[in-house]
Amino acid sequence: MIKTETKEEFNLEITSRNFTSTRNACKLCAPLGASIAFRGIEGCIPLIHGSQGCSTYIRRYVISHFKEPIDIASSNFSEQSAIFGGGDNLKTAIDNLRRQYQPAAIGISTTCLSETIGDDVELYIDQYRKSNKDESLPVIIHASTPSYRGTHLEGFQEALRATVETLARGGPHTDRLNLIPGFLSAEDLRHLKEILSDFGIGHTLLPDYSETLDGESWEEYQKLSAGGTTIEAIRAMGRAQATIQFGKSLKGLNTAATFLEGKFGVQSLTLGIPVGIRETDLFFKALKEWSGLEIPQKYQQERGRLVDAYIDGHKYVYGKRAIIYGEADFVAALASWLDEIGIVPALCATGACTGKFKETVLSGLKNCPEEPLICEDTDFADMLDTCRTMGIDMVMGSSKGYFISRKLGVPLVRVGFPIHDRIGGQRILHVGYRGTQQLFDRVVNALIEAGQERSAVGYSYI
C-alpha cells in the first residue's frame, strides 16, 4: 500500500513558485553528461578538469544507476592550480592516464572552476602534443562544459560535437548511416542497433555505451570496460550518407550532426525520440525511405501487437493525469506518447532552460483535451508545490521524483536517468514499438495496482 507522508512537513504552506534558489534540482551538471558520452567511445577514459570532488561525485551518481565500474579521472586542482592555471595538472593527468590505462582516447571535460579561471585547455593539449610528438598519443578530445552553462544534457551533446570535430574526416561518401540517439538507456542503444542491423543498414551509433556501461561479468578486472563506438568508426562518420539525431529541440543547434553536415555534407535529419507509435513510425519511415528497404516483418508485428495492447488497455488509462519530468526532449517524447494513449500529461517539467521546451512539448500533442502546464528551468520542489491540487494519478520519470509520488500517494513509473532506487535502470527499454510496449504494460499495471491497493475489496480479478 502506498502511504502518504505523515511526518511534519516544512513546505505545506509554500504556494509561491519561482524561488530564487533551486530546490531539489531536476538537472545535473554538464561534466556528468560529457563523461557518460565519452564512455560510449571505445577505449576512452573521461577526465574532468577541476577539483577531485567533481569526478568522484559524478562517478558515484553514475555508478548508482548503471551498477557498473566507471572510472572518471580528475586533474585534481589545488589552490596553486586555481591561481596559476591548471595546465601542469592537466598534463600530469594525461601522463598518468596513459601510463595506467593505455587509453585509445581521453575525453576531457572542463568544470566551472577551470572555466572560470580561464584555463586554455586547447593550448595545454597542443603543448602536450608538441612535447610528446615522438610518441604515439591517444586521441585527446576536449569538451567545454562549465556547469553554470546548461545541464548534463548540454554536456552530453557538447562532448559528442567535440568528438566528431576532433575525429571525423571527409572523403568519398559511403552508404552508411550515423545515428546520434542522445542520452538513452543501454538497452535503448542495443535495440536501436538491432533495428538498424535488421534493416541491413550499415551504421555508426554515437555514443554507444550499451556494453561499456552495461557489460557482462568479467573473468578479470578490465581497466576500461569493453565496447563503445570505435575511433575508426567515428573518423568515418564524416563520410557517411546521412545522420539521424533524436531530440526535436536540437534542431537549429550546433550539434555533432550539424557539424557533420556543414563540414562534410553529411545530410542530417532531426527526429523526436521514438517513443510511442507516432514517433516510432516516423523513425521507421525515415529508415525505409532513406534505405529504400522494407520495414522488417518483425517490427510490423511488434507494431501490430502494440496497437492490440493499446486497445486492450485503453480504459485503464484514458483521462488519467500524469506528471512527467526530466531532460527536455525526453519529456517531450513521453508527453507525445501519453497523448496518443489518452493520458493527460498535466505537468511537463524540466530543469533545463532550452527556451523552446513548451513549443517542443506542444508540437507532440494531438488529442489532449487541455493544455498542460509546461515548465522549464524548474525543480522538484516547485513541481510538488504546483501539482498538489492537480488531481494527479501517476508520476513518470527518474527515481528523483519518488518523494513526489509518495507525497501524492500515486505510483511512480520509473524511466530515464537516474534510477537510484531500483535495479536495472540501464536495462529499461523506452524506444521503438517494443520499448513502447514495455512502457505501456508498466503504466497500465501501475494504474491497476494503485486502484487495487486502494480498494477495500481486494479483487484478484480485474
Partner: protein, 467 residues
C-alpha cells in the same frame, strides 16, 4: 599487469614484506589523473553538517554540488527533515560574471522565511572565491535581518582535501557551540560526536547511554538539532567517533571549555564494549559501571550465539577493506576476526601516519595497507589476495562484483545500522548473506580463481612493492 604509479608507491605497504619498516606516506593530495575514491573539501563539510535536520543547508555555486548531495545519506531524523532537501543558488553565467551575492542574499532570505530553520549553513563551492563573492558579509546581513545564525562554510573544493572540509565544518559547528557557552554543566553527561545516525545508529547508541545512566546532551551531528548543539558545552565529556572528522571540534571545545574528549568506535563487539566502558571509567561512578557491565554482558550474550553460527560458515575467508576514515578500518579488522575472516587488504582515503602504524600493528603479516587507492590498484590487490569480500562504499561495489567478490556497504549511504551490538549482528548477516549467495558459482572471475593455483607470481608482487 596493472602498475602502481611511481608517485604512489610509498602509499602502499605490505606487512612483513621486504619494504620493511618504512612508514606509509599519506595525507597528500591525490595524483592528477588517478581515479581517486576521494572527494573534495566541499564533500568533507557537507558530510559532517548534513544530518543537522532543522538547519537550512544552502550550497552556493553552480547546481552540481547540491544535486549530487541531495538526500544521499541514510541519516535519519526523529523530527524535521529539512536536511533531506537540496538547496542551491544554481549560479548561471551571468552571476559568474557579475557576482552571486545578490542571488545568495535573495535565496537565503526566501528560504529562511519559507522553511523557518533554526540556523543556516552556506557552503561556498569552487568558484565562489574566484568570482569574489563576500559570502561572510551576506551571511552577516541575513543573520541580522532574520535573527538566526547564518554560517558560511568555506568549502571550495580545490582548497585542500576532504579533511580540510571536516575542519571547515568543525569551525562552523563551533560557532553554534559558542553561542550557548558558559551555562552550568550537567552531571554524568556526554556529547556524541561523529555519529551520523545512519539507519538510526545514534538512537541505538543513545539508548545504551540511557541504560548506563548517562545523559546525552547533544548528538553532533546525527539526528542533530541546532539548539542541542548550542547546549553541548554543558556536557562533561565529548565521546568522539569518526575521529577524522570530529576530533577538531572536540579539541576546540577542550581548549575553550576544558571539556575532555575520548575517541571511540561503535563498530564491532570489542570496540562497542570498550567505548561504553571507557565512558563509564571516565565518570568513575559505581552505579554507572555496574549498569554498563550489565548492559554489555546481556548484549554480548544475546548476540554471540548468532555470530558463532555465521563464523562456522565464514571461517577462513579473506576480506579487503577500503573506507573513508581509518578508525572505522580498525574496528572492521577486529569485527571480521569474530567471523574468522582475515583482512588481506585494508586502506582508507584519509588516514594519518599514526592510523597506519596502528593498522600495521593489528593486521596479520602479508596484509596490504593502502592510502588513497584507486580502482585499478584495488582490483589488482584483490585478485592477488584472492579475497572473498570487499567492505567499502558505492564506488567500490561494482569493483567487488566484477571481481566475483561479496560486498558489504559500510558507507554513508547505507540503510542498515551497523553500529553497536545489534549493528554487529546486522553486519554479520550482511556479510554472510553476500558471501554465501549461490550466484558466485556463475561468476567468471570466481571460476577462474578457483581453477588457478597461483594467479600471480612472487616476482610480480615484489615488482609491485619495490620502491
Amino acid at each position: 599487469m596493472i602498475e602502481i604509479l611511481k608517485d604512489r608507491k610509498k602509499q602502499v605497504f605490505q606487512k612483513g614484506a621486504e619494504t620493511g619498516d618504512r612508514g606509509i606516506v599519506c595525507e597528500k593530495a591525490s595524483l592528477a589523473g588517478s581515479v581517486s575514491q576521494r572527494a573534495c573539501v566541499f564533500c568533507g563539510s557537507r558530510v559532517v553538517l548534513y544530518p543537522i535536520a532543522d538547519a537550512l543547508h544552502l550550497v552556493h555555486g553552480p547546481v552540481g554540488c547540491a544535486a549530487y548531495t541531495w538526500d544521499i545519506r541514510g541519516s535519519l531524523s526523529s523530527g524535521p527533515e529539512l536536511h533531506r532537501l537540496s538547496f542551491s543558488t544554481d549560479l548561471r553565467e551571468k552571476e559568474v560574471i557579475f557576482g552571486g551575492e545578490k542571488k545568495l542574499y535573495a535565496a537565503l532570505t526566501e528560504l529562511i522565511k519559507a522553511y523557518a530553520p533554526k540556523a543556516a549553513f552556506v557552503y561556498a563551492t569552487c568558484i565562489i572565491g574566484l568570482i569574489g563573492d563576500d559570502v561572510q558579509a551576506v551571511c552577516k546581513k541575513v543573520q541580522a535581518e532574520q535573527g538566526i545564525p547564518v554560517i558560511p562554510v568555506h568549502s571550495e573544493g580545490f582548497r585542500g582535501t576532504k579533511k580540510d572540509g571536516y575542519k571547515a565544518a568543525c569551525e562552523a559547528l563551533f560557532r553554534l557551540v559558542v553561542e550557548g557557552g558558559g551555562q552550568p554543566g550537567f552531571p554524568l553527561s556526554i556529547n556524541i560526536l561523529g555519529d551520523f545516525n545512519l539507519a538510526g545508529e545514534t538512537w541505538m547508541i543513545k539508548e545504551y547511554y540511557r541504560q548506563m545512566g548517562i545523559k546525552v546532551v547533544s548528538c553532533i551531528t546525527g539526528d542533530g538539532r541546532v539548539d542541542e548543539i548550542r547546549e553541548s558545552s554543558r556536557a562533561g565529556l565529548n565521546v568522539v567517533q569518526c575521529s577524522g572528522s570530529m576530533t577538531q571540534l572536540a579539541k576546540m571545545m577542550e581548549e575553550t571549555y576544558g571539556l575532555p574528549f575520548k575517541r571511540v568506535s561503535y563498530f564491532g563487539i570489542e570496540d562497542t564494549a570498550e567505548a561504553l566502558y571507557s565512558v563509564a571509567r571516565h565518570f568513575d561512578d559505581l552505579q554507572v559501571m555496574r549498569k554498563t557491565e550489565e548492559l554489555v554482558r546481556s548484549e554480548v550474550n544475546r548476540i554471540y550465539p548468532e555470530v558463532q553460527h555465521y563464523r562456522k560458515a565464514l571461517e577462513g575467508k579473506k576480506a579487503a577493506i577500503y573506507v573513508g576514515g581509518s578508525f572505522k578500518a580498525f574496528s572492521l579488522v577486529k569485527a571480521l576476526r569474530h567471523l574468522g575472516i582475515q583482512t588481506a587488504i585494508v586502506g582508507s582515503q584519509t588516514g594519518n601516519p599514526e592510523d597506519y602504524e596502528y593498522l600495521k600493528e593489528i593486521c596479520d603479516a602479508g596484509t596490504i595497507i593502502v592510502d588513497d587507492t584507486n580502482p585499478l590498484e584495488l582490483s589488482r590487490f584483490m585478485m592477488e589476495k584472492d579475497v572473498d569480500l570487499l567492505i567499502g562504499g558505492v564506488k567500490e561495489r561494482p569493483i567487488a562484483y566484477k571481481m566475483g567478490a561479496a560486498f558489504c556497504d559500510h558507507n554513508h549511504e547505507r540503510k542498515t545500522a551497523l553500529a553497536g551490538f545489534e549493528g554487529m549482528l546486522n553486519f554479520c548477516r550482511e556479510v554472510y548473506a553476500s558471501i554465501m549467495s549461490p550466484v558466485w558459482q556463475f561468476s567468471p572471475a570466481r571460476q577462474r580463481r578457483a581453477t588457478m593455483e597461483q594467479t600471480f607470481s612472487e616476482e610480480i608482487t615484489k615488482a609491485m612493492f619495490s620502491t
